[in-house]
């Protein structure tokens, strides 16, 4: 069959297109026919099918995600909310910050290096598309069992890919996570986040306004990569001679993306850009339909003008290609020449492919024939919305009844010591230095804090020292035990991590990684997690500015743990006040902030010592988190603390060991009255941090906590060459260091 034009589609209403192979449901196809008033052309079907896919349309998650808007707390800081490429927050002094987390899970399993690399590339383009200069990246990762042979294939490849791309772009990597759990064996999670900075007046939105304005594609040539269904359209049904398998994995070119960043920023600086959109999932289909539908008019595109890497591509394939490192800008006719000049300066290929029209149609032409004639809103915004059935899993009660509090506990000091060593050396608690030293932390010369600090911190203004901090957290084990609480715990931990470094938490982005939405149990986990996160953000006053949903993380019947990953962004008015994790000086007093309860459900201890997952996760008290945050920020501002570390996985002992190893200074700890040593060391109660207070500040610090009603307990002092728990055990720093630092290299190197 030759070219399927709009005219042809009108004349041949009975031709049945392969909608099922493209992933559309029968009723979805019928809706397309209804919208158009005729059957779609192949090119139109290509566009609808990708734009109405789960990934692009959020059809299963939309009804739940609405809560982020409905429950959004009043926040003066929010300049651009959910719905744009990334949210934008005011951080003062005329600066705005944009940030977002996305997933690149599946491709990273198939081709770890390129999958992870292109994940970084994609999230960075979202940031540029807002008008911002990207300033840092983070990479929350979840892998299969640490000792599984396939983990040795996937993780080093993923790390090399993230580093390979981010390092080459010149973006410091300032945070992330590495979590191992067998549930991720066939579905590792590779999430990537980026932060960008701009002046308020530079915020750009994805819209094509102004009749006669030109649509310019620039960046890499379009190739046949990342085309799923289009090749079915193009080959099996329309032209059997074509190769039917196009690669689903793409190779990234970070060098090209670096040039894209520079030339985009130069064009912004000269105010040449009316609207801009990156080309990510669904490629040109997405960029043109979104630009057009967010603008006032229509758009006309000459597909022949798209620079190609492979001249045999069909128009359907060009529309669906997900080739990396491409952008689309809308530019006034008088400024087109200058825009093209800047692209040429940076050796970036740029071509005018269309213009904004005064109609309301998106029309696409190929060899002079019209192959697409649609209302762009129906493609970009009117996708199907599903209220999928959800049901609390039948195993949930039994899981929660299997209380971790009943597990045998260590009964002697020696036993306690052995278990401490075991936890500190376990893959999830061990130092991730082998991984993070493959990332550039220094580039751009503004990094204040990076791994292994509680949050990453970047100076954004040299004059004043204004800075931003970011932390990402998630705990699939907690979320499995109770998805509502689990999501709030992820939020609480990221919030706490930011506050611990002295920054004020402002806003949230998230990446929601779950199994199949067609499984009611998974859908229930998903709905509960969103409800928890939305409620939590409302209570903490930190709006969700954007994020990403990744579903179908499932091997056969087995879904991953529900894994909401939460990123919290904070601001600090002078980075000189930042509080580091490392103990700074011998003799400083150690205080534990917050309440410690017997909470072991989902804990590191239960996993490492008993391979157990059951019971309830720690309780969440967000008012307490907020108070703790305020105290940590005030203490940093007033110079009352010299080091601080939030407590999370592994409990107090893990935090103290990390601060001690980083500072090269030991600690003497005393078990406080009313607690047994085991609970003191291993409980994972939320809302806690440990701080080191210079003796001169002791009174002032205690008074402040007392006045605000935050429980504060003196637990010891920074001292010596070991971590010493009075009456229980002493562990030399050397021994702890070996335990903590050798695990990951032994598994991966």
């Amino acid at each position: 069959m030759s070219l399927d034009t709009v005219e042809n589609a009108g004349k041949t209403p009975d031709v049945e297109l392969p909608w099922a192979e493209l992933g559309l449901k029968k009723d979805e196809y019928e809706r397309v026919v209804e919208i158009l008033g005729r059957r779609p052309t192949g090119a139109e079907l290509a566009m609808y099918s990708v734009m109405w896919s789960e990934h692009c349309s959020y059809k299963s998650s939309k009804v739940h995600l609405r809560q982020f808007g409905e429950k959004a707390p009043q926040s003066d800081a929010l300049l651009v909310g959910i719905g744009e490429n990334a949210g934008v927050v005011d951080v003062g002094n005329g600066y705005a910050v944009t940030f977002k987390v996305e997933s690149h899970n599946h491709p990273s399993y198939v081709e770890p290096y390129q999958g992870a690399a292109t994940g970084v590339g994609g999230i960075v383009r979202d940031i540029i598309a807002m008008g911002a200069r990207p300033v840092a990246v983070v990479d929350p990762l979840r892998m299969g069992a640490a000792d599984h042979p396939d983990t040795k294939r996937v993780l080093p490849g993923v790390v090399a890919g993230i580093g390979g791309y981010g390092n080459c772009l010149g973006l410091p990597n300032i945070g992330g996570e590495v979590v191992f759990d067998a549930c991720y064996q066939g579905n590792p999670l590779v999430n990537a986040g980026a932060i960008g900075v701009m002046r308020h007046e530079d915020i750009h939105l994805a819209k094509a306004a102004g009749t006669g304005n030109k649509v310019i594609m620039y960046g890499a040539r379009t190739g046949g990569d990342g085309i799923g269904g289009a090749s079915i359209l193009a080959s099996e049904t329309f032209d059997d001679a074509k190769p039917s398998k196009r690669p689903a994995v793409q190779v990234g070119d970070p060098f090209q993306e670096k040039l894209l960043i520079e030339c985009t920023l130069e064009a912004f600086a000269e105010q040449l850009v009316v609207g801009i959109q990156d080309l990510g999932a669904a490629g040109i289909s997405c960029a043109t339909s979104e630009l057009a539908s967010n603008g006032s008019g229509g758009m006309r595109v000459e597909l022949d003008d798209v620079p190609l890497r492979d001249s045999t591509l069909s128009p359907e394939e060009i529309l669906m290609s997900e080739s990396q490192e491409r952008m689309c800008a809308v530019v006034e006719p008088g400024k087109v020449d200058r825009f093209l000049e800047i692209c040429e300066k940076w050796d970036v290929i740029a071509t005018v492919i269309g213009e904004v029209t005064d109609g309301d149609r998106l029309e696409i032409f190929w060899h002079g024939e019209k192959i697409v004639d649609v209302d762009p809103r129906t493609v970009a915004h009117d996708g199907p919305v599903y209220e999928r059935p959800l049901a609390r899993p039948d195993w949930q009660d039994a899981l929660q009844a299997d209380d971790a509090g009943k597990l045998p506990r260590p009964s002697t000091g020696d036993e306690l010591k052995d278990q401490v060593l075991k936890v500190v050396a376990s893959p999830n608690q061990a130092s991730k230095k082998w991984i993070t030293q493959q990332y550039d932390h220094f580039v751009q010369g503004n990094t204040v804090l990076a791994q292994p600090e509680d949050s990453g911190m970047i100076r954004i203004d040299e004059e004043t020292g204004l800075g931003v901090a970011i932390a990402t957290d998630g705990n699939g084990r907690f979320a499995k035990l109770d998805p509502y609480t689990g999501a709030q715990l992820a939020l609480a931990e990221a919030y706490r991590n930011v506050a611990t470094t002295g920054a004020k938490p402002l806003a949230v982005s998230d990446c929601l990684n779950f199994g199949s939405p067609e499984d009611p149990a998974v859908m229930w986990q998903f709905a509960e997690a969103i409800r928890g996160l939305a409620d939590g953000c409302q209570q903490l006053g930190t709006p969700v500015t954007g994020g990403n949903v990744s579903l179908y993380n499932q091997t056969g019947e087995a879904a991953i743990h529900p894994t909401p990953v939460v990123a919290v962004l904070g601001v600090i008015d002078d980075v000189a006040r930042r509080t580091p994790v490392a103990f700074q000086e011998e003799g400083q007093l150690l205080y534990l902030l917050g309440d410690t309860r017997e909470e072991f459900g989902g804990s590191a201890w239960s996993q490492v010592v008993h391979e157990h997952l059951g019971g309830l996760p720690p309780a969440v008290d967000l008012e307490r988190e907020r108070l703790l945050g305020e105290i940590l920020i005030s203490a940093s501002r007033d110079g009352m603390i010299d080091a601080a570390h939030d407590l999370s996985d592994g409990g107090l002992i893990q935090a103290v060991v990390e601060s001690a190893l980083l500072g090269g200074k030991g600690a003497r700890l005393v078990v406080p009255d009313g607690l047994d040593a085991f609970t003191f060391l291993f409980s994972e109660s939320a809302g806690r941090a440990v701080v080191a207070v210079p003796r001169s500040e002791e009174l002032r610090f205690n008074d402040m906590c007392g006045a605000r009603g935050l429980p504060v307990t003196r637990i010891g002092v920074v001292d010596g060459e070991s971590v010493d728990v009075q009456g229980e055990f002493a562990l030399p720093l050397d021994e702890l260091r070996e335990a903590h630092e050798n695990t990951i290299p032994a598994l991966l190197a």
Binding site: G223, D225, P247, V249, V251, D253, F255, D310, S323
Partner: protein, 92 residues
Amino acid sequence: MARVVVDVMLKPEILDPQGQAVQRALPRLGFDGISDVRQGKRFELEVDGPVDDAALARIQELAETFLANTVIENFTVKVEEPAQESAVGAEK
């Protein structure tokens, strides 16, 4: 002892940023007339014992499972006959 060479190249439809960077530099160096450059990997394996069909089958498998990722790369396996080697080029 014999040498087996495994050449691994990106599939033609996959972007080859390295090859492209080389090609784009050629005009600046004063080289015209080269319309495409692809850059891949060459593995030289020194095999103990005879390179019989069984040995080659195993190397074929090695290439497929380890030296190349066949999602994005093609490979070829060749036994190198020392005499024939540098057909035109001189080894420098």
